[in-house]
Symmetry: D2
Subunit: 462 residues, 4 copies
Amino acid sequence: MDKRIGEECGVFAIYDPEGDCARSTYYGLYALQHRGQESCGIAVNNNRDITYYKNMGLVNEVFNDEIINKLGGTMAVGHVRYSTTGESLRENAQPLVLRYVKGNIAIAHNGNLINKPQLEKWLSHDGAIFQTTTDTEMIAYTIAKHRLKYGSVEEAVKRSIRHLVGAFSLVVMSPQKLIACRDPWGFRPLCMGKKGKAIVFASETCALDTVGAEYVRDIEPGEIVVVKGGEITSIKDYVNTKPFTQCIFEYLYFARPDSVIDGQPANEARELAGAILAKRFPVDADVVIGVPDSGLNAAMGYSKESGIPYGIGFIKNKYIGRSFIEPTQAMRENAVRIKLNVLKNTIAGKRVIMVDDSIVRGTTSKRIVALLRKFGAKEVHVRSSAPPFICPCYFGTDVPSKDQLIATNRTIDEMCEMIGADSLAFLPVEDLKDIIPKASCGYCSGCFSGVYPLDTEQFLEN
Amino acid sequence: MDKRIGEECGVFAIYDPEGDCARSTYYGLYALQHRGQESCGIAVNNNRDITYYKNMGLVNEVFNDEIINKLGGTMAVGHVRYSTTGESLRENAQPLVLRYVKGNIAIAHNGNLINKPQLEKWLSHDGAIFQTTTDTEMIAYTIAKHRLKYGSVEEAVKRSIRHLVGAFSLVVMSPQKLIACRDPWGFRPLCMGKKGKAIVFASETCALDTVGAEYVRDIEPGEIVVVKGGEITSIKDYVNTKPFTQCIFEYLYFARPDSVIDGQPANEARELAGAILAKRFPVDADVVIGVPDSGLNAAMGYSKESGIPYGIGFIKNKYIGRSFIEPTQAMRENAVRIKLNVLKNTIAGKRVIMVDDSIVRGTTSKRIVALLRKFGAKEVHVRSSAPPFICPCYFGTDVPSKDQLIATNRTIDEMCEMIGADSLAFLPVEDLKDIIPKASCGYCSGCFSGVYPLDTEQFLEN
Amino acid sequence: MDKRIGEECGVFAIYDPEGDCARSTYYGLYALQHRGQESCGIAVNNNRDITYYKNMGLVNEVFNDEIINKLGGTMAVGHVRYSTTGESLRENAQPLVLRYVKGNIAIAHNGNLINKPQLEKWLSHDGAIFQTTTDTEMIAYTIAKHRLKYGSVEEAVKRSIRHLVGAFSLVVMSPQKLIACRDPWGFRPLCMGKKGKAIVFASETCALDTVGAEYVRDIEPGEIVVVKGGEITSIKDYVNTKPFTQCIFEYLYFARPDSVIDGQPANEARELAGAILAKRFPVDADVVIGVPDSGLNAAMGYSKESGIPYGIGFIKNKYIGRSFIEPTQAMRENAVRIKLNVLKNTIAGKRVIMVDDSIVRGTTSKRIVALLRKFGAKEVHVRSSAPPFICPCYFGTDVPSKDQLIATNRTIDEMCEMIGADSLAFLPVEDLKDIIPKASCGYCSGCFSGVYPLDTEQFLEN
Amino acid sequence: MDKRIGEECGVFAIYDPEGDCARSTYYGLYALQHRGQESCGIAVNNNRDITYYKNMGLVNEVFNDEIINKLGGTMAVGHVRYSTTGESLRENAQPLVLRYVKGNIAIAHNGNLINKPQLEKWLSHDGAIFQTTTDTEMIAYTIAKHRLKYGSVEEAVKRSIRHLVGAFSLVVMSPQKLIACRDPWGFRPLCMGKKGKAIVFASETCALDTVGAEYVRDIEPGEIVVVKGGEITSIKDYVNTKPFTQCIFEYLYFARPDSVIDGQPANEARELAGAILAKRFPVDADVVIGVPDSGLNAAMGYSKESGIPYGIGFIKNKYIGRSFIEPTQAMRENAVRIKLNVLKNTIAGKRVIMVDDSIVRGTTSKRIVALLRKFGAKEVHVRSSAPPFICPCYFGTDVPSKDQLIATNRTIDEMCEMIGADSLAFLPVEDLKDIIPKASCGYCSGCFSGVYPLDTEQFLEN
């Protein structure tokens, strides 16, 4: 419904000697649009010359055929951005394209550095000036500094890694090279694909599918993959230097259900989460419904495991746009129905199990439960396929502050009462491991557990 | 997927002595947006003064808070328009607001008149000039002509009915009255709701829900309902003068699944269509999937009836906008995946039954079937919850010309081969009656059968 | 400075067998932009098919190369519109393109009918509906009505003339013909030009110049000129049926100084007005300055006649645009300097004669006089090249209401005191005849004299 | 006419404890709009917090009341930008707002550094990354570097001066201070004004006038003026370290005629240039006309000196906007008349002296001369109030390359023949000193003479 938990961004990059890379990037970014709707951009490389176009808005709002044709490109990097702050600065749009000591370079970044204050202090004491509020600019400075000492851009990227603490899935384009790099923990996904002679990098496999590329493999945590003239080389100095802790919420919510991340299909992870909920928190009921869109897979999993029939309980209005006029206070009670309406005959007279992808503040759940009761649900049992949020994320997920979270200072019973359900259950943190059986990675569940794969305290400002 | 079959429009009207009718109409039109995305407009009545705002675009693109506040209104009529022609004229946006012999009036219309050429000839021989290409303008002239002779606008509307042959669900606003009128056949839906002292008319009940109004009843075919100062009166001279032939495709495709039309919930009609397909055309398979969005309910019905598990087979990209750059020829084979991707683990190694709401040209079905096979479907059985289109519609549905329809000059086997399926079946025309058991209406199935509820030949130009 | 007195519109039309008429019309309208800045439009004829494009905004805002190329055309009519009311309706943009009993037609109109209420009553009692608030729509109905009885569009135009009381310079385009028509009084200008095989009609000769056409002649009052397949014919039934009363304010203010109207160059008329002021109201002074832009020619005339040197006294900011933020009250005293600044060394220590094209409300004059004094003018003598406005205009000039006019209930001395000048003089009404020695026309000075060339009383609503 | 010679920019800054500084800056920039029409921006300081808004477009296009109100500010800096390259980068819009080691800072710059390549090399070898193509960014880096070593921003600005070779009139805003700085040669103007407690800096005095501020003095070459809490201090270490060489073309063309630069009114300088032309290159004629807008003052000077009457020879279309459709090749011969038309009765049968502000390529002059002859001028004598351009400018004026200049490889006679005049004369370089009798400055005439006030060779890249 409401965008409740925010992702940081999505990246895409392509090398294709046959050109038209801007167009492929357009479709790639379009597939990654769910990872960021604030701004987007594409930088291209035509005969070592790097140009770009970026702006506020969705991919199909920012670009048109004329712009895409003009960009062309035998290499490109693209970016979709989600704004984690109320302030949406156009200056923050990516890719960041810049001149440094060795010419032009373009950088697109998904993730969040935890040592931003330390980096800014270090860089500004060497005379850096900052024109954006992004950590991408700091990554660019770090690479530029190292490029002065080392003989290639990939070497500079490698030397930069130990300065960059946190989540970064990067794509970098220099006059001659396309580089993909993932932080040593592998917080954010990054995969590689091929299509003929073309080589593609993307945040999610759904972007490979969209451009017709075949999945080759995921970038390893700490790995740097370099494409130059069609040759692929890999720098693995930082591989296996940290625990592999992919963000588990990518599986539960962020990733498109058709994406496969580090071996694990996202929709299957959600079905498994639903199945675990059915096993752990069974209840006698007539129908299982999912809250669209991201609760549907988990609802299906719950239904299959429990044997209780799956039903289509809601219809979501798909025309919500940027400039939608939010209902006034007077219409607030009816507000949820503007975006989400009930299919009455699925619900009326039934005992309903309603599965959602997560419960953050609880306000929307409360409204939906009330709506189901209004349309005749005899019982409403709520199941969340994510555990309760209890802690901040420092690695690129935009979790609301503690005072806004339903789980802060509330027992499950209190939460259940607050949303007006007959029963409520969350996926237990300890079961998270079981929703990604095919994954080659471990995971970070810091926002659900407060346990992070690195010592965050030392980086937090006082 | 592609907008394959086009609707003509959606209408909304409200009388509310507490005002802010423009805002209610905004949300009502937003709920009806699926009935027309080309243009929209709202006309309001403030102390007998009629003003309006309309433009090309979606409801949330055309209106903003400032415009809505400025409109206000204790009465309003609104309209969303679908363009049936390639040419999109801004002049054609509705409501049509005009001055005539008795002052201002606003008219919004859903439907299509079959006797347009005859009307135009008649009117222009009395000196009419036409500034739009809509039949709404002809309705306006017809009402204006009769208003000269008769003492009230509702009387003029009544006297106009015999001149207007075809589909029309109208809302009309005069300085003092709000009028709703449905053609004697009842081709297009039109319902009435209440919310406190407010009275609402809308093309579909989902719009009543969105503004928090309770459904009262559907407008009868041929009925004219007049609201004046909160009093409702009904003119029934034309009620029961024709067979009640609601467009059956409203149930199968046009209407939002949560709407109830003439007593029959649309989602239930679709589930029943799926169930009938399961009974008539059973096949051994592992999973039933629906093509989103409007194939899902029928797939659910097929699954329930057959006992074959329902699965989520596709993910649809929800960010398609007006200015999306269509794929070039080179990317055409991959085009369907830009908008619709497969959830591989639902499909791989399975015998799949794929249910769609209809098959018009067959080109999209062909691509989807190929995609399913590429991702490992062992068999693909296609079921269409609508019968094959074989004839034009003269009453507001935009069916492609015969040479574009898959069913023209093809047997079922040939169609099956064309789309590359293992089997193919359509809902039989004779079963249409069974998908609307709760409906108070009969239906028109002209586009599927060539049988229309009135003699169309006499009106068609040579 | 401020647009103080508003013109109704400008029209342009071209027949050119070599095509690209939309482009010529674009440049023609661009030259007529001073006659209307609210909206503009072009209708073209390609092989008898009439299409159009119009919108709110300036010519160079509304049209781009793509639109112009797409329009093409071997005939075209264009229009620039000035809004006389606060309400700017997009629906009122012209040309008005419509279907009537004989197919499509496009009409563009400059002027104002005084019998609009009578016309509307007559037409609406025949069933007319009005979608705009323009008299152009009434002209269209009137032509359409007569076309039913008479065998050609030009005959219908001719038969319409007796119904249309007031000012109208019309261009009309039918599938085969281009027609120009001027009302029997000739209130508004309309001229004809030629360029090779092309035939051009325009409100002013400056538009002929802009498209490289040579001036042929002015359309006579009451004349209808018909172009068909390159042949020009003229219908003169209404020529010489009324006194020829060209609006005198066209010479003084509306027309571009390079335009020649009915034989009289506008800039020369203004110089003569200045010279008459010098003769009638001499004063000892050091410099004569004009208020830009339209006071400059008269100032030059005053200077030449008096022998007092002409000086450039002001610089006008030329970047004022539609969305300029008007100064707040706090900045109001300085407001005039945002748009108009003084060239100090022209003024300081001098006795100044300041010539303006007219004085309407007096507020701007007051501010300018104060500004001149602030920058050291020893004396400021104000001369207006137009007489004082004292009455309304019914023929297309937008004069403010009496309570806003400086001359209402004030003697010259009181006006002089109000604007803070050392002396003040207006061109006497009786001298107006002497500013157009080369003109073939008489003139209407109703707004200055209250004497109109027809009995206005019978048309004014009670 | 055509923007032939481009200025680099205009700057404005204000400290006003009463706030609303964004609004004052809006009007200030509006007065400076002639110095740059590509982009504009305003940065404000509210309680030490620096925010900004900038975009492509004119001042009245970029800003609206809502934006201005939101900005507020008790300090502000603003900028209008002219693009010297075909490529118009939004990233280049100013003010440049950035974070550096001491917090936020905003910089706006008019001028051009000649040692840009050396600066970029120096800075990038310290790890700088460049996100724009402006020298403003290099100035920012230079200040940031020095701020690390020195205790205040003004000290950092001072220490930066010896690194910045060329033209710079800067305004800098830090959390607590407003700083204005002019390069030691004083190439570009920069003045100071006062209005109550408010202190204003601007490129030209016309901007002071517009906001109602009184002129105090010009900033001295090499001076740094610091405003903090209403106190003004001045740092003069670099004053009188270089010859004072104000760009002479500011007087002849760039500055608004009502501006007074370093003591000399611009309009008077132009009149003097005209008078000198009359003395040096007299010719018997009937009328002197100026090419609007910037040739008018010089024409007036010529007229006064020679005794030949001044006339208004042209009318310029004032509605040219950004998106004007340029005439096609077929219309090219008539192109000049679209923008500039002749007042025939001023010209016909006369011997005409036409004064222009400069002659750059000669193509426009050629067309205008031909036009004058076409309308009956018996003789056309052309006088340019600037000398011929023969060399590039390195200090902020955008002179076309040598191969495009009319004076390259041509004698006066050959130029005269090329433009089709009866005689041609330019203001002699040696007379430039006499057009600025009231100026406190010397001047740079490098573009006319090839003599620059510093050794340019050492900075030009090979």
